[in-house]
């Protein structure tokens, strides 16, 4: 069978992937620059015309994430999406999902902040996303797409990881990836099915004990045990699920570390640098949590310096510095306010920081 290729916006790719991977329900609230996700789903009307997937516009991001929580309690593949200010509102629900160990997919097509900010792309939600934006000790698996194809592919991957670890998974995208159009190779339509997971609350038959789903443990000793169990799970995820891509690192003297739209800028910077005989490579984290710390530590033995390119004041740089433990200088270059740095300005600043 020939490949099915379609020109899609990044946000549309999320929506189409959700239908095709057998997602049961999407709950969301409109916010720029990601409203195409719910609009595409509404126009496709999968509930009546395709797979039976429910698409519901909630009264708020708070309600949407709690609807996801409800659906997830019954073992359904449920998702929501938003952009930065809306994601702040979802943090309470995300903490509860993590605490109750429920699988779900959350998409953040990030825009500039703080506050109401701007509708232009940004990567300033890194701290919120990978350090646990809600209360309590928890982690989410965070996938950072840098093409529309990855935006599409990470929906199924995200659900697979969410159910494997019964943990919320976030796709941390940005307004640029969300709005750009690229060719996407589509996958086969998977059936929408609810496997009979052991932990779900779907009604108690007479032949088993009741199931209840909670994140409440009033006794300190029990709460601590729950935390230790969560931390053990996070350790397993750290050991098994680190994903990254290396570009021209074999002979690199300098390393660019960038994810999402910034990684595309970084690719061009590598070309500019190599044209001048400066050997630059890229490590592109695909999972922002767990972070590719071990590989960065290895690369610190090879390169003379690292530059993070982020559309923020420098957030991921803290994880890079922790990884390399001072072995090499780690610098940051980035723009804020929704401005995407040009390869030339990044290269000029790279040279100022490391060469001149």
């Amino acid at each position: 069978m020939s490949k099915e290729i379609k020109l899609l916006k990044g946000n549309e790719a999320i929506a189409e992937a959700a239908i095709r991977c057998g997602c049961d329900a999407y709950f969301g609230y409109p916010i720029t620059p990601q409203s195409e996700i719910i609009e595409y789903l509404a126009a496709e009307d999968p509930y009546n015309k395709r797979t039976g997937m429910l698409v519901l516009q909630a009264e708020s991001e708070v309600a949407a994430i709690n609807m996801v929580y409800g659906a997830a309690c019954t073992g359904k593949k449920a998702m929501t999406s938003s952009s930065s200010p809306g994601m702040s509102l979802k943090q309470e629900g995300i903490s509860y999902l993590a605490g109750a160990e429920l699988p779900c997919l959350i998409v953040n097509v990030a825009r500039g902040g703080p506050g109401l900010g701007t509708i232009q792309p940004s990567q300033a939600d890194y701290f919120q996303t990978v350090k646990g934006g809600g209360h309590g000790d928890y982690n989410m698996i965070v996938l950072a797409p840098y093409t529309v194809q990855e935006q599409y592919d990470f929906v199924k991957l995200g659900f697979d990881l969410a159910f494997k670890y019964t943990n919320p998974v976030m796709i941390l995208s940005d307004g640029a990836i969300g709005q750009m159009m690229e060719k996407v190779t589509l996958s086969e339509q998977l059936p929408r099915e609810t496997p009979d997971h052991e932990w779900t609350a779907k009604g108690k038959p007479t032949n088993r004990e009741r199931h209840y789903i909670t994140s409440l443990y009033l006794q300190s000793e029990v709460m601590e045990q729950k935390n230790l169990q969560l931390q053990a799970k996070y350790s397993e995820i750290r050991a098994n699920e680190v994903r990254y891509e290396e570009i021209q690192t074999e002979d690199a003297d300098y390393l660019l570390v960038a994810y999402g739209i910034s990684a595309r800028i970084a690719r061009k910077v590598v070309q500019l640098a190599r044209a001048e005989g400066i050997k630059v490579g890229i490590l592109r984290p695909i999972t922002l949590w767990p972070f590719p710390s071990a590989r960065l530590k290895e690369l610190a033995q090879q390169v003379k310096g690292m530059l993070t390119i982020e559309m923020s004041a420098g957030q991921m740089i803290e994880d890079v510095r922790l990884a390399v433990e001072g072995a090499v200088p780690v610098k940051h270059y980035g723009r804020m306010g929704g401005i995407i740095a040009t390869p030339t300005e990044v290269f000029i600043n790279f040279k100022k920081l490391f060469i001149e």
């Binding site: 609807m67 409800g70 779907k202 009741r210 209840y212 409440l216």
Partner: protein, 264 residues
Amino acid sequence: MEIDVEQYKKDLLAQGAEVVFSKTKNLTDTPFSYCGGCGHGVAHRLIMEVIEEMGITDKTIGVAPVGCAVIAYEFWNIDAVQAAHGRASAVATGIKRTNPEKFVFAYQGDGDLAAIGTAETVHTCNRGENIAIFFINNGIYGMTGGQMAPTSLIGMPSSTAPYGRNPDMHGYPLSLTNLLAQLPGTYYITRQAVNTAANVRKCKKAIRQAFENQKLKKGVSLVEIVTNCNSGWKMTARQANKWLEENMLSQYPLGDIKVPKTDN
């Protein structure tokens, strides 16, 4: 002295005693942690009895709130989930929309349903979700220690309005139930109490109705249950029951507020 309850029961039966009442299987053996005189225990029992009597235990999912009933699932011997403060009806929406064949109910107090969860409550009702909501109104925040609730009466003292609720400062008692009755998405709305044996029987009928209505798919059924909080009100159980009759029921009169139109 410890009494072996099981042995005591066996002895009585051996002596020819007849079982005239037993606890529903839908309640666990965990003793209620509620204060003596509180209505939560009665409300729990009625809901669990109805689920057993309808034979829908294997199809029912309950949603517990934040408040005194935060650990309701410790007592309910059914599948249940615990929701964030105020979000029970959104969680119930997520469950019911993806499992339309199940029976779903949210159990919420006045702070949960009518303060922090107002938006979720109004929009769940406005969407006409086919769920039941059981709304426990005792006019105070019980679990956190007797603070003012949206339903606190004018002049009623609480730890955050120690000189009594003053409308100039604190606003008025909120009867969200009456507002919700205006919405086309609500199908059945009633206000009940569990302060007397007669009221307990009426309340159970209303709870049964709320579950039966889910089969019709015509929208939200909400049963408000006015109860006392003798600890929060700083009264004995008996004083609280009297105060409920003399004060709460004039602000929150009992009876049906919205009943389904009959077809004939």
